[in-house]
């Protein structure tokens, strides 16, 4: 069972959301609804599920409904229709008491505009979630202190939020959410006010924290690079509608429509994609075979190189010439694993960018191994260029090339005249 589920959620802002619902059911989109009824369509039939322990990123342009969507998870906003379930329980049906318990124990939130209490010191702000829950002062402030230090705010405990920069206030909000120690954290553009250095530092720390604790994180961002860096899965919203949900690779390699494509066009793909998106099965995989059998197999498949697996782990490569030489010196009965040559390899989760040097130096298509050292596939240098250039840019390239030929031809005519 997924941890968080949104089930056909429709949310309409205005005086008579119920009345406007019929229009939405009849197919009116955000623009039409606003023009016809003066109601704002916040979420338009959203269905998605978030698994426990994943970092789920929500993206979309300003006003697309990102903040509205996450506010349904802790019921800061009630939907007009549809259900929101946590652990299978519809939270719209919770009593006041149960809802408060859910917010105290299970869900913390970081706010886009911070939402700090201006009349309280930084330390008291960071301890707020625990205070509401009724923890004694000493204990809650010790925990808050610990988190303030982890987000780099040691020494600012006794300041008021108004005395801090925007980025520092954002980190107070972060410490407050993390100190609450809930299994779900909602982060509404939690890193937007930070400078690039601290930002990437906190991104790494967030991923590490998530891996260590297994928390479920719903993260909103405008920034695709950030999304790709953090996300297990990404949801893309447009005008309150869900356009696409998928892994970063899905989104980059098969954008669902021009809107998503526009989003991903400028991304640094070499950094965002990992080598497993380029992987192909090896032409020939050998393990128990003898040299003679191996040579026969290579002739049959017309390959010059084969990848050797020994005891389930990648052991190296053999080439046709190498095997022929070995057959002479050692005889054809020898096991192929004994003559395999060592060869560089990369793991499946390496970013393409960092695999490129190895790939260029590698004499043969580069083997890709899993964390346990098993052979997962190979990468050919030519597939890199295919995946790095998006379809759109390829189309552009073809166009410029033709245009260039035109110009060239005209120049020939000119010089002939």
């Amino acid at each position: 069972m997924p941890l968080i589920e949104l089930d056909h959620v429709v949310t309409i802002f205005g005086n008579d959301p119920e009345g406007a619902l019929a229009r939405v059911r009849a197919g009116a989109d955000k623009k039409a609804l606003l023009a016809e009824t003066n109601h704002v369509l916040g979420l338009d039939d959203i269905t998605l599920s978030i698994e426990a322990g994943e970092i789920f990123v929500v993206m979309g342009l300003s006003g697309s409904g990102k903040s509205t969507l996450v506010r349904h998870i802790n019921r800061l906003i009630d939907s007009t229709a549809g259900a929101v379930r946590i652990d299978g329980t519809d939270i719209m049906a919770l009593s006041k008491k149960e809802l408060i318990a859910l917010r105290r124990r299970r869900i913390a939130m970081v706010f886009q505009r911070f939402g700090l209490l201006p009349h309280r010191r930084v330390l008291e702000n960071a301890a707020y979630g625990l205070e509401i829950r009724g923890l004694p002062r000493a204990e809650r402030e010790a925990r808050a202190q610990e988190w303030l230090e982890r987000v780099g705010l040691k020494g600012y405990e006794d300041r008021y939020p108004g005395e801090l920069s925007g980025g520092m206030q954002q980190r107070v909000g972060l410490a407050r959410a993390l100190a609450a120690d809930t299994d779900i954290i909602l982060m509404d553009e939690a890193f937007s006010a930070l400078d690039p250095l601290i930002r990437s530092e906190l991104q790494d720390e967030l991923v590490a924290l998530q891996r260590a604790t297994g928390k479920t994180i719903v993260f909103i961002t405008h920034d695709l690079d950030e999304a790709l860096r953090l996300a297990d899965r990404i949801a893309i919203l447009k005008d309150g509608r869900l356009v696409q949900v998928g892994t970063p690779t899905d989104i980059l390699l098969s954008p669902a429509d021009p809107y998503v494509e526009a989003f991903v066009r400028d991304v640094n793909r070499a950094r965002a994609l990992t080598v497993d998106s380029l992987m192909q099965p090896p032409a020939l995989r050998l393990s128990e075979e003898s040299i003679g059998e191996a040579l026969a197999a290579m002739r049959r498949t017309k390959s010059d190189v084969a990848y050797v697996v020994d005891d389930g782990r990648f052991a190296g490569v053999v080439t046709k010439e190498g095997l022929e030489r070995a057959a002479v010196t050692q005889g054809t009965g020898e096991a192929v694993a004994a003559v395999a040559e060592a060869h560089p390899a990369v793991t499946a989760d390496t970013a393409i960018e960092s695999a490129i040097p190895t790939l260029l130096e590698s004499p043969h298509p580069l083997p890709v191994v899993t964390e346990d050292g098993e052979l997962a596939g190979i990468v050919r240098p030519e597939s890199v260029s295919e995946v790095l250039v998006s379809e759109r840019t390829q189309a552009d390239l073809v166009e410029t090339a033709t245009a260039g030929q035109e110009v060239g031809r005209r120049a020939d005519i000119d010089s002939a005249a």
Binding site: L76, R103, R105, G115, L117, P118, I132, Y160, G162
Partner: protein
């Protein structure tokens, strides 16, 4: 041709019937309520008058210093009080101060909850605003007649008249202050599982306190401006002196009473304003 139907008779008759009904059937309840108020007033009044004037002057100076953190303000407040004593108005001023204190406390007790309610319910606010307008515009004597009938002449109806006139700004400013609190701060508090009461006492009231203080300041000033009318229905104090000057055609006495009221007003105003400004401090840093 007469286009006006006669509704004056019925309205007046109905009102009189209602007052009669209240006097006869709920006289005891009104008397009990009146007694509580009277005891509170007498307690404070006795306390204020029991203090030797020098002690009182010191206390007020200390309060002024605590509220403003400015020594000059303390000296000014002390000088003002000393001047009142020199005018021979000390006792009357203490009686008036007691009425003001009781009225303002009563206003806070009633006004804060009403302001909070108004901020949380649009329906309630819509209903309340015309009532507040009415309270501030209707001439005091109109409600003094039934008040005197229900409570008798004297201090209690004077306090009630003062409260009715002085209450509206406190309610309005409490309502405004609470609604002006940053929505995302309240939302954050909700998101962490705060109850209504925790949000109110931990976020909304503290953050609107500077505005509420303004309301208390205005309420106090309005209460002071009612002292002359209050003394017409039997409250003792500075108002009595002004009234005396009026009745005896004695401008000098009238002026002495007037000056005393002005000094009281200035001292109270400066103290409450200075306190309100201090509450604002870390707020301005945030902007």
């Amino acid at each position: 041709m007469n286009i006006f139907p006669d509704i004056r008779g019925p309205i007046a008759a109905a009102t009189n019937d209602l007052v009669d009904f209240l006097v006869v059937d709920y006289g005891d309840a009104f008397e009990a309520f009146s007694n509580v108020l009277l005891q509170a007033l007498l307690f404070i009044e006795r306390g204020l008058r029991a203090l030797p004037p020098w002690a009182m002057i010191l206390i007020i100076a200390a309060v002024a210093l605590a509220a403003s953190r400015k020594p000059l303000m303390a000296v000014g407040a002390a000088a003002g009080l000393w001047f009142i004593g020199a005018l021979g108005m000390w006792d009357q001023a203490m009686q008036t101060l007691a009425i003001i204190l009781v009225s303002v406390c009563f206003c806070i007790l009633v006004g804060l909850p009403l302001g909070v309610l108004a901020a949380s319910s649009r329906m309630f606010r819509r209903g309340l605003i015309p009532v507040l307008d009415l309270m501030q515009t209707i001439p005091s004597f109109v409600y003094l007649i039934p008040a005197a009938m229900l409570f008798g002449l004297g201090k209690v109806p004077a306090i009630l008249a003062t409260v009715i006139y002085a209450l509206p700004p406190l309610i309005r400013l409490t309502d405004l202050g609470i609604r002006e609190v940053d929505g995302e701060v309240v939302e954050a508090s909700r998101a962490f599982g705060a109850t209504r009461a925790q949000i109110l006492t931990g976020v909304q009231i503290p953050l609107s306190l500077p505005t509420i203080m303004q309301g208390i300041n205005q309420t106090t000033m309005l209460a002071l401006s009612m002292v002359v009318i209050a003394s017409m229905i039997g409250a003792r104090g500075v108002g009595e002196t002004v009234l005396l000057g009026l009745q005896r055609n004695d401008s000098g006495t009238g002026l002495v009473g007037g000056i005393t009221i002005v000094i009281l007003a200035v001292v109270i105003d400066r103290i409450t304003q200075a306190y309100g400004r201090r509450l604002q401090r870390h707020r301005s840093a945030e902007a």
